[in-house]
Symmetry: D3
Subunit: 131 residues, 6 copies
């Protein structure tokens, strides 16, 4: 159970309802996941996060699937269970194959390994990397 | 200063030297960065990590630049300063543009933001994400 | 299920019982939460933690509610699910309003965002901050 | 050295210059810290972060000093060195006394301690916390 | 529910089956835990991880129980719930007593505490530690 | 530079001086490292942490060197640079060999790797681990 109530469609204020509507239209689905129902307790924050996600996760010089995989990587390092589930679902919906998922997990695991080894050794940054 | 000595070419055992040689040949440079000079204190581990990095970070269903960006993302979440420097240098060497770098940082920042918000709310994973 | 047994009132040693009694008296409730039932496997540690919590979390130059919110912030960053639940309950019991909870979560989210952005950029500390 | 160049006043585009100007006016100082000079590589992100910080960190149901202390707490847990320095400076500028700083650090330390103990025990959330 | 399917014995390829067999023989049990059933989605990675675990976690200059406790310590800091459960079970199977478990948790808790305090203070490394 | 002043012997209050004296006597050295000079800004906290460290890190069912290695492991996962330096120095002073240090780093690295892989897969805890 969450530390905030999940705002239902019925409980949604006009401001929240407008974001719910935009999420439904943008994603072409009636489903509103708990992230939005939780954020809806703070309608201004909810709207700001939705605008930010639309601006950041859409196509740019990186494609949307690459961005979802980067999102999963950060979320795995931060042990954010919900985030890993939701962004893995999003990545699959955007076409991530099982092979790509496997490669993503290998890179995440390798980075976790060397991050820990490097921290334990407290390596100094090479001059060559400072340019 | 690191918690282990940086192994110089002169101090390198034959086993370490062989890995140094392979790194130089593979990367087409004479430069050996501190990561390898630190790991060289444990030659077996060093060789195993080098083989793993070659296997994981090469081309596959994800391209090498995408993998470097995922590596940076994990390293930023883990606050591994050396890793961020070395993999940002690697990503730039593999062609990451300033625009791609900027987009990468926006995704990392957004993931950091929502990871924290979601953890603070302790959201339950939606049934729809469990399929 | 936890990795240690939850110590019931019946199983509690005299040393543990004394701490249970003090918790009940101090909090004016019969309820002993799992944190204490788990720590009770190591009575000395349990007693020391209880004394520390009473000393640190009581009123001082910061008020108890502010301290609970700081506690939630650290726990969110560390992805400690139990801690977030228990200290959010404590903060609500100490009067945290829904508006304050919302503001707390905005600050936690913003800090998570900029922590990640700053780590990804590996910014040098300004001289002005070193005084 | 950072992984992105620090944008000087001379290099700043009109868009960046406008944010620099607003920072200077809002804070009543000529000093622009590295956080903004680094973010300025991505003017849109820089402007968005500045607007978010102004909206979140200003007075509300929590006072600005409390927010700075929450920010420090998250940053300590995330090991974001720059963030700890800059927000500690900000907290001091907003009147944080040495005693308050000391209390803040005690709470951060205690939370770090119990977060680790609780994670090691994998405690189940009490039913009483789920209401 | 995991983000990857758990590979059953029936679904296992010959390559996966060979690792399952080796796990069963090495551990002298028929039980294959979810870690391996999840990794089995990427047979090469699964085999590599199994070989690494056998090489690293076996006896050396540190005994296997000490290694399990170090593993638990890292996993607690990283909030990896599954890892804490599986390695605590492994440590108990290797003879960890309740007293040792208690001492382990005290050290983990103390390290978590001082890690947070030190990060909040941003202490400079003493010259004496740099030799 | 730290966010708090380092308290010199001359600036030390009687309470702080008493702890400095005990540290010097217990460790049989005149050297007081920055951890204590920083904590000395809050004499009560300093004294409490010193008493806790003496109680936790001394011999018990785990030997002091094992405890130092567990401390390093947590500190590496938490990216606490100062802590890694100081506890690696302590471990070496307590007899940690280069081989033991190498093994410690392999376990830390492996745990970092599997922690990340497991988090990315969101594995469910096996029933067998819940007993």
């Amino acid at each position: 159970m969450a530390t905030v109530p999940m705002i239902t469609d019925e409980e949604a204020s006009a401001e929240v309802r407008a974001v719910f509507d935009d999420i439904r239209k943008t994603r072409n689905t009636n489903f509103i996941n708990n992230f939005w129902r939780g954020l809806a307790n703070d309608p201004k924050q909810m709207k700001a996060v939705w605008e930010e996600i639309k601006a950041v996760m859409g196509p740019g010089t990186l494609d949307p699937l690459t961005k979802e995989m980067i999102y999963i990587a950060v979320s795995a390092a931060n042990a954010c269970s919900y985030c890993i589930h939701s962004h893995t679902a999003a990545a699959k919906a955007k076409g991530m194959s099982a092979e790509q998922h496997g490669e993503l997990m290998r890179v995440i695991a390798l980075a976790g390994k060397t991050n820990h080894a490097v921290n334990a050794m407290q390596l100094e940054v090479d001059e060559a990397f400072k340019v």
